[in-house]
């Protein structure tokens, strides 16, 4: 079955072409929304089935299978193929991408049904799936890069989907450019790799790691990581992701939570055997991951935009994953990728459902003839939605439990494993730093639970605050309603997965402690063990259990605290109290550490001013001026010389005589 892997990649592309060309060329086709949506969804769902089939045909010890299609780029000693790789890592990613992707397609059919550019949206989505599959299935760095850039483009197109709004297209551009900064590093990393081993094929690289000097290994690792920071929104390149929420919510769910942003984690996991050779680079990854996690979490606490909170949460969770990677817990990171994909996608879709409802309210009010405008994403206008949107509420709540790390929900297992690995890394080199990172991670876990419940409680509990806050929106709750089933079905599926997803990676010691046997219940670990190079956990059972206990305590404590502060419409008061307590620190959080402003002042404006005021002027005045000056000088001499021509014959004769003297002198002497 693995030999049909290319079909997985191809079908979404076909879907894209059908919808894209059809929609572009035919007005009638654009109106066939059901058809369009179905085609798009099916062209993701079929690959999912194929992937599933392949997955079931594989074992944890299966050899990687590579389907080579054709030579892509070839010049001199460089050659790369379009070849897709099926191994334990890539099939997991492919399953997530197509599975979650298919659900979100389904969801979008409901969510986007009133949109004019329906066909375009689905075309883009399919293209995104195509690119993402290239990323995860490609057998060499350059094909991975094709996907890498491809998802960037789709992200660009989808963030700026409502291009009529300049801010949205700004966000799109910002996303793309920040991604490109990362890509720059990625490219250089590729060059370094190629120079060292002469190929970009995964197999060849990973089998020839000895060809790297430690220095090169370090740099390749760091550069790849920088690439990953761009795509996976880590410090210092994370600022695009919150802005990326300008796109339609399914997009946020699919691209900016479940799939694209995790490609950095995939990349580093793919090269885990290289990373373990360079502890310094690992440390850098861990530090950046840890910092990102806590920074984003603190910002998330202060946000009111429902999607922004989720966005910062995503950044924070991604930081968590990188922390895992940097600590040697590659499988843990992948585990979190998967669980995060479930619950974060569910959260986003849930928020989309809420926004959909709020939009509906706004729309209906407008229909009533009232000129009411409010931000449908601002949670301060919400509240009490649980009785109007039960499905949304329940799935949202389940996912919140998952992300908060409440035991038996999926996030609990994955997060716990990460914490364990970070602590474990503290046992080796750079122990203090890793311990500090562990501390930060625990704090982040606390904050995560806190802000997620803040979000959930403010949105769904208490009373619907819109009527009281916005004039003219009285009685607007009558317009609130649950989303259609195309939207709720995916919510339930994802919510279910968020609940049970964690069982694929239940730590072995949960059982072994008690049975003293060597039983392996951690399926994921077993599955991925062959492709990644996890560091060994050297912790004792006791330590492990203590860590689990700490995690549970933290999560429960944060949950309780959040309930106290935010249930029953106390949200704003609590936030004010929080602001008072933390003072300027809170201000820094709510200002998002002013990172955007810093970028603007330190890089963007200077570059722009340099270009506008210096280079452009330099170009016109100096470079071109020099050229003009040469011409001008010649003309100037010409106009000087012409005045020798006085018109008086005797002057001419005089010049003649000078010429005579000249010629005589030249010839005689």
């Amino acid at each position: 079955m693995a030999e049909y892997v290319w079909l997985i990649v191809l079908i979404p592309l076909i879907g894209f072409l059908i919808n894209g060309i059809g929609g572009l060329s035919s007005e009638a086709y654009r109106k066939q929304k059901t058809l369009i949506g179905t085609i798009a969804t099916i062209s993701v769902f079929i690959p999912f089935l194929i992937a599933l089939q392949i997955f079931f045909g594989m074992g944890a010890d299966s050899e990687p299978y590579v389907a080579r299609l054709f030579t892509w780029i070839e010049a001199g000693s460089f050659s790369s193929e379009v070849a897709y790789r099926v191994d334990q890592l890539s099939i997991i990613m492919a399953l997530v991408v197509t599975g979650v992707g298919a659900l979100i397609h389904l969801y979008s059919m409901g969510y986007m049904k009133d949109d004019e550019g329906y066909w375009k949206f689905f075309a883009y989505l399919n293209l995104f799936i195509f690119a993402m599959l290239n990323l995860v299935l490609g057998n060499n760095l350059i094909l991975l890069f094709l996907g890498w850039e491809g998802v960037g483009v789709c992200s660009y197109l989808l963030i700026g989907y409502w291009y009529g709004d300049m801010a949205k297209s700004d966000a799109a551009k910002k996303a793309f450019v920040f991604n490109r900064v990362g890509d720059f590093a990625f490219l250089v990393a590729m060059f370094l790799v190629f120079r060292a081993v002469g190929s970009l094929d995964f197999d060849i690289i990973l089998n020839n790691l000895s060809a790297f000097t430690p220095e090169i290994t370090f740099w390749v690792a760091v550069l790849m990581f920088i690439g990953a920071t761009g795509k996976s929104a880590q410090i210092p390149l994370f600022v695009w992701l919150p802005d990326a929420m300008a796109g339609p919510t399914p997009v946020s769910a699919l691209i900016h939570a479940a799939t694209m942003v995790t490609s950095g984690i995939y990349l580093i996991s793919r090269f885990s055997s290289m990373y373990v050779l360079t502890p310094e680079a690992m440390l850098i990854v861990a530090i950046i991951g840890g910092l990102t996690a806590i920074v984003a979490a603190t910002i998330a606490i202060t946000q009111y935009d429902i999607k922004k909170v989720l966005a910062y949460s995503t950044v924070s969770q991604l930081g968590f994953m990188f922390l895992a990677l940097g600590s040697g817990g590659f499988i843990a990171a992948m585990f979190h990728v998967v669980t995060h994909a479930f619950f974060k996608a569910c959260l986003f879709l849930g928020s989309g459902s809420v926004i959909h409802a709020m939009h509906h309210v706004e729309h209906e009010l407008e229909h009533e003839g009232k000129d009411v405008h409010f931000d449908p994403q601002d949670m301060r206008y919400m509240g009490g939605l649980k009785k109007y949107m039960p499905s949304t509420y329940w799935t949202f709540l389940l996912s919140t439990f998952a992300i908060a790390g409440i035991p038996v929900f999926s996030g609990f297992f994955s997060k716990d494993e990460i914490l364990a690995f970070v602590f474990n890394a503290g046992m080796g080199e750079y122990s203090y730093i890793y311990f500090a990172l562990w501390g930060m991670a625990v704090l982040t876990a606390f904050l995560t639970a806190y802000y997620m419940f803040r979000l959930t409680l403010t949105t769904f509990h208490g009373t619907f605050k819109l009527p009281s806050k916005v004039k003219g929106a009285e009685d607007s709750e009558k317009y609130l309603h649950e989303s259609p089933s195309t939207m709720t079905i995916p919510l339930w599926i994802l919510g279910g997965l968020a609940v049970i997803g964690g069982f694929m990676g239940v730590p072995d010691f949960f059982v072994t402690t008690f049975t003293s046997s060597d039983i392996k219940i951690n399926w994921l670990h077993a599955w991925l063990d062959g492709v990644t190079s996890d560091s060994a956990l050297v912790l004792s059972y006791g330590t492990k259990w203590i860590l689990v206990a700490i995690a549970i305590l933290i999560a429960v404590f944060a949950t309780v605290l959040a309930y106290r502060n935010y249930d029953n419409d106390k949200g704003e008061a609590s936030d004010a109290a929080l602001e008072k307590r933390f003072g300027s620190l809170y201000q820094v959080w709510s200002d998002k550490y002013k990172i955007d402003e810093i970028y603007d002042a330190s890089i963007i404006q200077p570059t722009f001013k340099l270009s506008d005021r210096v280079l452009a002027v330099f170009d016109m005045k100096i470079v071109d001026g020099f050229v003009n000056a040469v011409g001008g000088t010649v003309r100037f001499f010409g106009s000087l010389l012409r005045f020798v021509q006085t018109g008086v014959v005797q002057t001419y004769a005089l010049v003649f005589i000078i010429g005579v003297i000249l010629v005589l002198s030249l010839i005689i002497f």
């Binding site: 010649v634 010409g638 010389l641 012409r642 000078i658 010429g659 005579v660 010629v663 010839i667």
Partner: protein
């Protein structure tokens, strides 16, 4: 009969001379101007046919007791001169009617002038050179001033005359000194001389001075812009091509036959003069607003390129120079012809470049023709001007004069500016006031088209003519004598 044979070999000159006398007599009997013109054309056509025949088949030799040469260079010079005159007369007739100064005496004068040119171009003795040169010059002095009731015309004639006569003094002095040094005025006998006394060098330099004057090389060029501007336009075309051709062919003959011994010194002198000529000609032309004056400076610049070829002094150099003369005659007569056409539609002062605005669209053919000629003058392939420049510079490169060539090409690049400028006005600007151009006479435009086609032809397929010219020099051992 030797004399008859000589005469047969000198037939173009003879025909033109007889023709000149005939039309002079016709003028005396008050024949119609048109008839005079037609007779002139008849004789010139005859001369042209024979000159063409001579060009292809005449054997190399000397005539009239070594006074004149036949074949090769001489035949080539004769051909260009007659060819140039032929077209000049066609253009002049129409032009003079246009500017209302169609004196019948112009035709005999042109014919006599042509005789002088042929004599000059075929001279094999300094005496013949002198007489030829003077016949040509004196006729040109008069021709420059034929628009005698306009100040500009006579002023140019006066300037030309004074400076021309002045240079004649130097020329004569040169001949005298050379005669004194070598004991002969015959070119080959002078060429046999290898003693190198001071008086020989003095003679050589004086001779060069006079030729530099005639071909208007800097700093002996001062008359050129004024005379070219003031003279009737078609006469300017004639002056700048036929007379220059005759003088340069004579110079080539002298350099080749009489002065191989002096080649080294001449090379350096020529190189310096060439640099001055190219630089001054091109830079000053850049700032001219009068098209005719611009073309005058451009013709100075072209002399600079010719001097580059002469400075090389090799077979290839002379070949290049002769080819260049042909190309230059074609394109310069053409360019002046179109300028004359524009001018006669208005008045004599209609030469300011501003007034060319938008003219390219009024009579498209004329605009295209002028563009072709100017582009050829600028040395843009695939026109004859390019091949000329290319050959000249190649010859200099072969002779190792790289620096000279670099300056030459840079000057040439600068020259593109002012040629293009004309086209800027012709095509890129709109005319401010409505200008009406009358349809050119068919023969007028036809002759210009012929010139343009030849310019193109010699640019694309120069092999035939260059082969012919190269055969004049190959094996003559003209390389620089150490």
């Amino acid at each position: 009969m030797e004399i008859l044979n000589d005469l047969l070999n000198y037939l173009p000159a003879a025909i033109v001379a007889v023709g000149g006398l005939v039309v002079m007599m016709m003028d005396g009997y008050k024949a119609k101007s048109r008839l005079i013109y037609q007779t002139t054309m008849f004789f010139l056509a005859g001369a042209l046919v024979i000159a063409t025949y001579d060009l292809l088949y005449q054997e190399v030799g000397t005539l009239f007791s070594d006074m004149a040469a036949s074949g090769s260079t001489a035949a080539f010079g004769t051909f260009i001169v007659v060819f140039g005159t032929f077209f000049t007369v066609i253009l002049t007739h129409d032009y003079l009617i246009g500017v209302k100064h169609n004196y019948p005496q112009v035709y005999p004068l042109l014919m006599f002038c042509t005789v002088g040119m042929i004599v000059l171009a075929t001279a094999n003795d300094l005496v013949t050179v002198f007489i030829g040169l003077e016949t040509m010059s004196i006729s040109l002095y008069a021709l420059a001033g034929i628009i005698r009731d306009k100040q500009l015309g006579v002023e140019s004639a006066l300037k030309y005359f004074i400076l021309g006569a002045f240079s004649t003094g130097f020329f004569l002095y040169g001949i005298a000194l050379l005669y004194g040094a070598t004991g002969s005025t015959n070119l080959s006998e002078i060429g046999a001389y290898t003693d190198g006394s001071m008086i020989y060098w003095g003679g050589v330099s004086m001779l060069l001075v006079a030729f530099f004057f005639k071909i208007s090389a800097v700093p002996f060029h001062m008359w050129t812009p004024d005379v070219y501007t003031g003279s009737p336009t078609t006469i300017t075309a004639y002056m700048s091509t036929a007379s220059k051709t005759a003088a340069i062919v004579a110079l080539v003959l002298i350099l080749e036959r009489a002065l191989p011994y002096a080649a080294d010194q001449i090379t350096s002198t020529m190189a310096i003069i060439a640099i001055m000529t190219m630089v001054l000609g091109n830079t000053v032309a850049m700032v001219q607003d009068n098209v005719k004056r611009m073309l005058a400076y451009s013709s100075i610049a072209h002399v600079g390129y010719l001097l580059v070829g002469l400075a090389a002094g090799t077979d290839l150099g002379f070949t290049a120079v002769l080819y260049y003369l042909l190309a230059y005659s074609l394109m310069n007569i053409g360019a002046f012809g179109v300028v004359a056409y524009y001018e006669k539609n208005h008045d004599v002062h209609f030469n300011n470049i501003e007034s060319y605005a938008g003219l390219g669209y009024k009579q498209p053919l004329m605009g295209i023709l002028l563009s072709v000629f100017l582009l050829s003058l600028a040395g843009i392939p695939p026109l004859a001007g390019f091949i000329g420049k290319y050959l000249v510079f190649a010859a200099a490169v072969e002779a190792g004069l790289i620096n000279l060539v670099i300056i030459g090409v840079l000057a040439s690049a600068a020259s593109a500016y002012f040629y293009l400028r004309v086209m800027v006005y012709l095509y890129f600007k709109e005319s401010k006031e409505p200008v009406k151009l009358m349809k050119p006479l068919r023969v007028y435009s036809f002759s210009l088209v012929v010139l343009a086609v030849l310019t193109l032809y010699f640019g694309i397929l120069p092999a035939g003519i260059t082969e012919l010219i190269a055969s004049y020099f190959s094996g003559n051992g003209l390389a620089i004598v150490p």
